[in-house]
């Protein structure tokens, strides 16, 4: 059973965004609007707890994150920059969440997925936390999927 609360997750997301982007994130009501481009990134956690942390956001927010990390303009941000920055975003969020799990746990390298869905399906795992945020007028969803103990 995952013992990390919604508040813990919100605190970590807020820390990563304020520190890296200088942007405040706030809880968002209702599901994010559908139809737009969504960039998702994922890190797996294995060990004493098994599952994954998934960050899905509007492409505009991913561009902004890449821009802040690379110190470049929106026009200069390329696809590989977005993938790299989003990978590090989920690495930071996942890594900080991992420190709240019973050790030892290991973090995988991040994977980035592009699409139009905020939901990523992981066979054999169940989404146990799902939190929606807004940052700079764009939506962001954090999901934690837990794999049932064998």
């Amino acid at each position: 059973m995952l013992e990390i609360s919604q508040e813990d997750i919100a605190a970590i997301v807020s820390l990563v965004f304020t520190t890296t982007l200088d942007v405040e994130v706030e809880a968002a009501e209702g599901p994010p609007p559908s139809g737009g481009e969504v960039a998702s990134s994922l890190v797996g956690i294995t060990g004493n707890w098994d599952g994954a942390v998934i960050v899905a956001c509007e492409r505009a927010l991913a561009v902004r994150f890449a821009r802040a990390m690379f110190g470049i303009s929106d026009e200069e941000v390329g696809e590989s920059d977005i993938n790299d920055a989003l990978g590090e975003l989920v690495n930071m969020i996942g890594g900080n969440l991992k420190s709240m799990l019973p050790p030892p746990c290991h973090l995988s390298l991040p994977t980035v997925v592009a699409g139009r869905e905020y939901r990523v399906r992981l066979p054999g795992a169940k989404v146990v936390r799902e939190l929606d945020f807004a940052a700079n007028g764009a939506r962001l969803r954090i999901a934690i999927a837990e794999r049932a103990a064998a």
């Binding site: 520190t19 990978g87 690495n91 996942g94 973090l107």
Partner: protein
């Protein structure tokens, strides 16, 4: 000072390098521990290596072990910059020869403070 920035994320390397430049330092960069050892062999020595933990090919902790096995690199300080924030991990890294530890995400101020603590605040 000369720094070697080692992280598999180009975004993090870019962020750190901007901070180093602002502080007046020089840098080289590597995407994993293996690449870092090659750069040190060809362009070393460096005053300090700033090392991520989770990287493909050769992880940060493997890099620390490999670097500390080389007597000629004894003068190179090593700061881990990572999301691996559990006490056991920090102790492991320090026991293997890392000098300092900075948790991601970090601010400019926290970064500059750590360099100052390591005596690495003098410009190149």
């Amino acid at each position: 000072m000369r720094f070697l920035v080692i992280d598999d994320s180009r975004a993090i390397r870019s962020l750190i390098i901007r901070m180093l430049k602002e502080l007046g330092h020089q840098h080289a960069e590597a995407g994993n521990g293996r690449e870092a050892l090659d750069i040190i062999a060809n362009n070393g020595p460096f005053d300090a290596a700033l090392v991520d933990w989770n990287m493909p090919v050769m992880t940060g902790i493997q890099f620390v072990e490999a670097a500390r096995a080389k007597p000629e690199l004894a003068g190179m300080q090593i700061m881990m910059i990572t999301t691996e924030t559990e006490v056991e991990r920090i102790q492991q890294a320090l026991a293997l020869g890392a000098t300092e530890y900075l948790m991601k995400p970090f601010t400019r101020e926290a970064f500059a403070d750590k360099l100052a603590m390591m005596g690495l605040d003098k410009a190149a």
